[in-house]
Amino acid sequence: MMSGGAGPAPYLTIIATGRNDDFGGDFNGRFFRALHFNHQQLVAAGITHEFVFVEWRPIDRRPLLASLLADEFAEVSSLSLRSFVVDPAYHDALSLNPRLQFQEFIAKNVGIRRARGEFVLTTNTDIYFSRGVIARLKEAALKSGVLYRAPRHDLKSALDVSDIGWDVLEDERNCEVVNAIRPPLFTNASGDFLLLDRQTSQQLRGFNEIYRVAKIHIDGNFCVKAYASDIPIVDIGAPVYHVGRGTLHAMRSMYNASPGDAPWGDIRWKSDVVYDNGDGWGLGLAPEREIDRGTTFLAFDWHAVGPMVDLRGVVSPGVRQERAL
């Protein structure tokens, strides 16, 4: 059961982001199926949790995905399923690359900043937890100050997912690719599973908001930031599942000749740099107003938008170490 009412903070906050744009095909269906599955497994294991959904740059004249989500999970408490709808003006105000249609990681920062759980998991909407991940969470023995990663197993895209369960997810015949993770950074599809205690997540100030020219590798860049901050990164010891190889894999070859034109930004950007987000990270200064049960709207305000260019926020790990000395 998700943590409900005004009770104690849940053990886990799960953060995902999206909008009602059918991204990748049947976006909402994939989202709801994975969420139902994960919610059922967490409830069965007795893991208190909340789900934080951030709707970034909602599309005009289309129902909010946050509203559809609330309808889909009507039985869940508004304190356990919280949505934040971000004024689309923020996307334009923060943009440093018009090709990027969705600032995924700033959206996730909105969720991290507002998370209530003891631990915060940033993931994607169509990720299924494995039995092992549920078991680790059930143990309630995760350590603070440790970034947990899980490898993503990509299942064949032709799978019938209408009634997905452990039998389908764990069947090796259904596995197409294992996105292996290796020390020290444990990157490779890291945006699908980054689990860290809330206090440390907020001390790190989330994902890179300084470099908004690309969104690709921002997840791996978070691992770099954590590593440079002396936060151990470990494999949680169990996978997460994803049906198909993902939109990036499907579209990547289209931009081989001109990587800079890709809708996720130039894949070649130097993502080993470390960043220092400003105080207002995660739209912390954005005015909030409740628009529906468990749904909060972040209204646009220039005060909530950091400087367009903050070059002091880009530091090399070496410089960081020198500063520490």
Partner: protein, 167 residues
């Protein structure tokens, strides 16, 4: 009385016998002497041979001595050379040891400098990376501002970009 007989060449029989006996003895002695002479001669030959042999041996010994002396001189010369070489080797060895010590110190210094250079290189690469990222940000910002400016100017002037007259 005897003298006169002698003078006359007359010899009594007893004398004659005695003389004959003396003669026989003398002959025997002569024979013996002759035999001894022969023996002496033989001995003399032996000794001569021995002397010759000894002389030969002596010559050989002298030659051997000369050879040995020569060898000794050579050996002494070689010993001197070896000593000189040993001294030289010792000096060289000392020199090499000093060089080795200097090289070891240089190597240590080089290793330290290499480590410093590697560290500097890593820092330089990281700083270069940071500069590239900053340039990306500046370029992105410039492009966005350029787009906004064009849009604003176009809107204010009422000119469409398709007309080719804007900005």
């Amino acid at each position: 009385m005897k003298r006169p007989r002698r003078i006359l060449g007359l010899v009594p029989a007893s004398g004659y016998d005695a003389l004959d006996e003396q003669r026989a003895k003398a002959e025997a002695r002569a024979g013996k002497l002759a035999q001894q002479l022969e023996e002496y001669k033989a001995n003399s030959r032996v000794w001569k041979n021995k002397a010759e042999d000894a002389l030969g041996e002596l010559r050989k010994a002298q030659e051997a001595t000369a050879t040995a002396q020569k060898q000794l001189r050579q050996t002494e010369k070689q010993r001197d050379e070896h000593w000189k070489n040993a001294q030289k080797l010792k000096e060289d060895s000392e020199k090499l040891r000093r060089l080795q010590q200097e090289r070891a110190a240089e190597l240590l210094d080089l290793k330290q400098r290499l480590a410093d250079s590697e560290r500097d290189l890593v820092v330089a690469r990281e700083q270069l990376m940071a500069i590239e990222v900053k340039l990306d940000i500046l370029e992105g910002a410039a492009n966005v501002l350029d787009g906004r400016t064009r849009e604003l100017v176009t809107r204010r002037s009422g000119l469409g970009t398709e007309s080719g007259t804007a900005v």
